[in-house]
Symmetry: C2
Subunit: 206 residues, 2 copies
């Protein structure tokens, strides 16, 4: 398969959300224009995005909602469930564990870790915070696919290496530090302070 | 000023973090190589990034830590404080309000809103959740610079329009829907489920 840009994957996720709403409403077909509105793009872009993955629908009739959403779920790897561990049980880490959107999409958080004795043993939605010293043991028994890192920046690389060493194939990094992972490991970064700084930069550059 | 890419702004933020650590340690100069490590890039990229904003340091001596961090704070608009309102007091919204990293960086959350009667009146770190019906009134009295949207996708555009109408000049959107804002308004999107889906896509495409 050709290398697909992150921005394309992002739009596919948004198209899928819209298709699922249409499915719920019992609508059978949808135009590329309608999908474009939802994805914040143009109908030409929609057709281009979908053409990466073969042909869908018939000219003039729009896309078949049920078929296209099933295809998109498969393309996005959402036709299965993923096991996720979260390292860091601070405000953001504990909020993530309680975020229902993850489970709805097939991401099951199976373990939550912290090194702070005052956090270890607390429970969030039934998930008890475990000592990060037990991480290796837990990775062997839980065999997670994805690790979410929500620790201070100076601890993130070490945690990442332990996760990768333990078999994690994808990392979502919330720590304010760039991580280095082997090429075989997928990595996405989310940094809330950096997003705000990008806004302050925009405000300052006016 | 030339248009600066988002990825450049992101690296500047990371360089600044490193410089501030060096300042704390009392280090006077730093090499482009050291900044590159922190920014997850190369020393050539560091020199290029900084050259956008004039000349810094002397060849062979590295960059002066205090001067460069002050310049970066000014470039990033971090030499002042920002007033921020958050709309949506769910798990993520309430975690954001309690996230210390924002205040440390100059972002003061001055108001938090929700439409759910069971959430209105609750307090997070001393900030009481207000009825979103009072949003317009609050925007007039609090005159925030930045609005953070953490509401369901189908409500996000309407909230965004109310914020912009009320004078907000920058929006950070956590809702799983693309927002349309006037060109004069800065917009950044953070979508946690989409980030995980990008990882599931990467795992599925192997």
């Amino acid at each position: 398969m050709r290398k697909i840009a992150d921005s394309t994957v992002r739009r596919l996720s948004l198209y899928l959300r819209y298709l699922e709403e249409f499915e719920t409403e019992g609508q059978a077909t949808v135009s590329s224009e309608a999908l474009a509105t939802r994805g914040g793009t143009t109908s030409a872009q929609v057709r281009k995005d979908l053409s990466f993955f073969g042909s869908f629908g018939k000219r003039g009739l729009g896309y078949p909602v049920a078929e296209l959403s099933e295809r998109l779920r498969r393309i996005l790897g959402l036709d299965r469930r993923y096991r996720v561990v979260v390292v860091g049980a601070g405000k953001i880490g504990s909020a993530l564990v309680q975020y229902r959107g993850f489970r709805q999409r097939g991401f099951d958080i199976v373990a939550l870790f912290d090194s702070d004795p005052s956090k270890i043993g607390r429970a969030y939605d039934g998930l008890v915070v475990r000592d990060v010293a037990e991480l290796e043991q837990a990775l062997r028994s839980e065999t997670p696919d994805i690790g979410i890192i929500v620790v201070p920046g100076d601890q993130a690389q070490a945690v990442s290496e332990r996760l990768v060493q333990g078999g994690v194939k994808a990392v979502l990094n919330f720590a304010p530090a760039p991580l280095h992972v082997p090429e075989s490991v997928a990595l996405k970064n989310v940094n809330l302070a950096l997003e705000l700084e990008a806004l302050s930069f925009a405000l300052a550059s006016r």
